[in-house]
């Protein structure tokens, strides 16, 4: 009997994680407390069990994170006995490495790549593992499992290395590093199906809950200290959930009653259909696109 897709994707991700461990002695797993990085961390645990995984966790903290995600992050590291490095965008700002965007409620999404680059240099990393997927956007659709970065952390699409069969080429010069994406061939739905199948815990943000929000465009923005409502906006309580849990300044919530993993999966499946067959301008589809872009940002 042919094995089902999740088994195949799981084995593929584990194989890539083991290549990372074998070829890149100093590798960290980028961990935000978001679902993709949680799934990736669980796969890394599986890949080396019963031995501990050989990667530390690294979180680039914009300082605008939801407290639920940060608590989850810290508990996860504690539960599994993992080293957690946190590097903050605030420290990069204080050190004059980057400048905060002007304006009242700046997003730090773009700044975090400098903090990440500095962390990679500081920790002398050979590789950073990320949960990005090829289904996120067109440019990502061409990424490799092993993405080579030069000494300036730059990605040169024309120097992408050929990846054929199962062969990965991790040779590099001093100062260069790799971004490694074991979930390349997964879809968003695969991530959720995997969470259901392997019974993986997620931060509560991913499930329907009551929250004070303001509508912004097609999504709801949570009211937080970093994202207070504009004077003309009137916050209201709504039942929402998040599809991603990145920086609060640019992570929208969607109206949803999905309170369990199974309900989220049902919602995702249904939204694909309705997005296609009903309104061309479905609000959720717009947010989906935005979500993917943000996720792919790293």
């Amino acid at each position: 009997m042919r094995r089902h897709a999740l088994l195949e994707l799981e084995a593929e991700a584990i194989e890539v994680l083991r290549e990372a461990a074998a070829l890149c002695p100093r590798t960290a797993l980028l961990f935000s407390g978001g679902k993709d990085s949680i799934v990736l961390a669980h796969l890394a645990i599986r890949a080396f069990a019963p031995a501990p995984m050989p990667f530390a966790l690294l979180h680039i903290d914009t300082g605008h994170n939801f407290p639920e995600a940060l608590t989850f992050r810290d508990e996860f590291a504690r539960t599994y006995g993992l080293t957690l490095h946190v590097r903050t965008v605030q420290a990069s700002i204080d050190a004059g490495r980057v400048q905060e965007e002007p304006g009242p409620h700046p997003s730090r999404n773009r700044l975090q790549s400098v903090t990440l680059r500095d962390a990679i240099a500081e920790l002398a990393l050979d590789a950073a593992l990320g949960g990005a997927r090829r289904d996120e956007e067109k440019a990502r659709a061409k990424e490799r499992f092993l993405s080579h970065r030069n000494a300036f952390s730059q990605w040169d699409p024309r120097q992408q290395r050929p990846e054929l069969w199962r062969i990965l080429n991790a040779r590099k010069h001093h100062g260069e590093h790799f971004r490694i994406f074991p979930l390349s061939n997964w879809t968003e739905l695969d991530v959720w199906e995997y969470i259901a199948w392997r019974q993986i815990d997620l931060p509560s943000l991913y499930f329907a809950h009551r929250r004070l929000v303001v509508p912004r465009g097609h999504v709801f923005l949570a009211v937080t200290p970093f994202t207070p409502p504009a004077p003309e906006e009137s916050p209201r309580e709504a039942t929402v959930r998040f599809r991603t849990v990145g920086d609060a300044t640019c992570t929208g919530a969607i109206a949803s009653n999905a309170a369990t993993v199974a309900e989220v999966i049902a919602e995702l499946r249904a939204s694909r259909l309705s997005e296609r067959s009903t309104r061309a301008d479905d609000q959720r589809s717009e947010s989906a696109m935005e979500d993917r872009k943000r996720e792919g940002y790293f």
């Binding site: 999740l6 194989e15 054929l164 069969w165 080429n169 040779r171 061939n185 199974a262 049902a266 067959s277």
Partner: protein, 630 residues
């Protein structure tokens, strides 16, 4: 240009079931010449295969409207690549998902031009199905043959040739039949395990997912129906166990396991296994899949294996069943596609990745370049980017590998630039150097002439230490006792440093460079002799560790280093040729040990000290040791 808006209802996806969606994931590669309609075809496949999210759909509707098209242009759905082509930036492989009620598909979309042969290789390397598009009106192009060649070379198990634009030829059966006949003739020289033809119209939607009413003469299934019905339940992998070791996992002193994926066959607890290359054998005691211990792991499973014996197993070693090993060799031929502007030429040093093994090697010959459009062969000195060619590769040590036709994972390789680290070429193993079965697969009586290189014994030491004397006496004993000694059919050759310097190396002096070159030539000669089954005894001063290291690299695993040690006082006292006396008087410049450095081996395979042992003790010691190596 009109594109009818696809309006027929979509099949509902299966309800979320727990524990898990049972559909398998099938990998597809597509290819076609420019304008054969590949983008339109893929757009329709993705649309009808339930893979287009509304945001993408909206974007395509908007783009279609912007160009004044009444209907939605399905080709735009996959036009990430086209945009690149127009902007003259990297063209690459793009991956897309779609699904039917039965299966999920991961599609590698590769561009059509000749200059993207390498991308086509990449997509096809993991594909189980290849779909090649041909324009019914225009007929096959040179690209069609190129793509078919690659798909055949990489042994993609299922190949579908979709004859597109049937609407342009009036859906006529004779036109289709003629085209299929022509394709069969064109491709007659290529091997396919499963080749099918399907007449379609991507634009109208005939035979893409739904069967066409316009072609009643075609009784077969649509492309999507064909995909859904292909035999993929049991993968077309050979039954032999191949488990390339990725790394050793050792959380504590009493737990050691080997991580890897079963790339073919299966492995169970209790199985007798061999670790290749080499003769190490042991038994599997535990198999771990994540936190669980399981009795058996089959093809595709990523597991940890624990073994009964504490063997020295490293990344790259391959675990196999004792009865079914891979051949081991340090030289093979393969068909490669050049992946980098650097190109490839005979003599190039390369880092060779096969399975999880990585070894230094060299392109020893370009046998011929292959024109993938005419299938003709031609001589070539240097292979440019995207060239296809048969090359000969030599490795610095033997590895375990299979011919690609036997195993798509252990018979495929990547050649990497050893200095700049980029991938130079990817290829498939077509011939092993001997193409003989491994020794233990053949009963002893019928064992053919030796297929492995004979050992090379490299005796290093100062002048007068006893290298030549010991080499001579070992050679004499081998010649007379060789039969019993297991050296059946092997002759013995001595390469004496002085003798070689008198002839072959007469042009070399005693500077460091000249000494290095002296050693290199002797090592190369030893290698040639050893390759042809001759046992070689080299008695060469070879004063520097680096020189002996290079000899070891040239000769590979056949190389054995024997240190012939003697202190200078004893040597000066012996001095049979009076050389030390002359050197001490300054009559000989750069005399090793006196006026030129000698670095004793730090970790020789054997040490013979002729200042503390008498000659017969030394001879006995070296003879016993060498016997054990034959």
């Amino acid at each position: 240009m009109t594109h009818p808006h696809p309006t027929h209802p979509q099949p509902a996806p299966p309800q979320p079931t727990h524990p898990v969606d049972p559909r398998p994931l099938i990998r597809i590669a597509t290819a076609g010449s420019v304008d054969d309609g590949k983008s339109t075809f893929l757009g329709r496949l993705l649309y009808e295969g339930n893979a287009i999210l509304d945001d993408q759909w909206t974007a395509v509707q908007r783009a279609s409207a912007a160009t004044g098209e009444a209907d939605v242009n399905l080709a735009l759905l996959t036009d990430g690549l086209r945009a690149e082509r127009e902007q003259k930036i990297t063209i690459d492989v793009a991956y897309r998902h779609f699904a039917t009620a039965r299966r999920r598909y991961l599609l590698a979309d590769t561009p059509g031009h000749a200059q993207y042969t390498r991308n086509m290789m990449t997509g096809a390397s993991t594909a189980e199905v290849a779909i090649l598009l041909v324009d019914a009106e225009r007929g096959p192009t040179p690209q069609t043959r190129r793509h078919a060649f690659i798909v055949s070379l990489l042994r993609v198990p299922h190949v579908i040739i979709a004859v597109n634009k049937m609407d342009r030829v009036g859906y006529a059966e004779p036109a289709y039949d003629a085209l299929v006949r022509q394709l069969r003739t064109d491709l007659a020289r290529l091997e396919f395990a499963d080749l099918r033809f399907i007449p379609i119209s991507a634009l109208v939607g005939d035979n893409v997912s739904r069967r066409s009413a316009a072609m009643p003469w075609y009784p077969g299934p649509s492309v999507l129906e064909t995909l859904d019905s292909l035999e993929v339940e049991t993968r077309r992998t050979p039954v032999e166990l191949r488990f390339p070791v990725q790394l050793a996992v050792r959380p504590s002193a009493d737990f050691r396991a080997y991580a890897g994926t079963v790339v073919s066959g299966q492995v169970s607890v209790g199985d007798p296994v061999r670790i290749q290359p080499g003769p190490r054998v042991t038994t599997v005691t535990e198999i771990w899949a994540g936190p669980d211990r399981i009795p058996t792991a089959s093809v595709g499973e990523a597991v940890l294996l624990r073994l009964a014996d504490d063997l020295d197993i490293a990344r790259g070693d391959v675990i196999v069943r004792t009865g079914n090993p891979s051949p081991e060799t340090d030289a093979f031929e393969g068909t490669v596609c050049v992946m980098h502007e650097t190109g490839l030429a005979a003599g190039d040093a390369v880092q060779v990745q096969i399975g999880r093994q990585e070894v230094a090697g060299q392109i020893t010959d370009i046998r011929y370049e292959i024109n993938a459009e005419t299938f003709h062969r031609a001589d070539a000195a240097r292979l440019p980017l995207n060239a296809l060619a048969r090359v000969a590769v030599r490795l610095s040590r033997p590895v375990a590998l299979d011919r690609y036709e036997h195993n798509r994972d252990t018979g495929a390789f990547l050649l990497v630039d050893p200095v700049r680290h980029h991938g130079l070429a990817a290829g498939v193993v077509t011939h092993l150097r001997t193409d003989l079965p491994p020794a233990d697969a053949v009963p002893t009586q019928s064992r053919p002439a030796p297929s492995r290189p004979a050992p090379v014994f490299w005796l290093t030491g100062l002048s007068g230490a006893g290298k030549s004397t010991l080499a001579e006496s070992v050679a004499t004993r081998l010649r007379s006792n060789g039969q019993q000694a297991g050296a059946t059919g092997r002759s013995v050759v001595i390469l004496d440093g002085d003798a070689v310097r008198r002839g072959v190396n007469r042009d070399l002096g005693y500077s460091a460079e000249a000494r290095t070159e002296n050693v290199r030539r002797i090592a190369e000669i030893a290698r040639l002799l050893s390759d042809q089954g001759h046992i070689v005894l080299c008695s060469v001063i070879s004063p520097l560790a680096a020189q002996r290291e290079s000899a070891r690299e040239i000769i590979g695993s056949a190389f054995h280093e024997i240190a012939i040690v003697c202190d200078l006082a004893t040597l000066r006292q012996r001095d049979p040729k009076g050389l030390y006396a002359r050197a001490d008087r300054g009559e000989i410049a750069e005399f090793t040990g006196v006026s030129s450095p000698y670095e004793p081996p730090s970790n020789p395979d054997l040490t013979i000290d002729t200042s503390t042992e008498n000659l017969s003790e030394s001879i006995q010691k070296i003879w016993t040791w060498i016997l054990a190596k034959l």
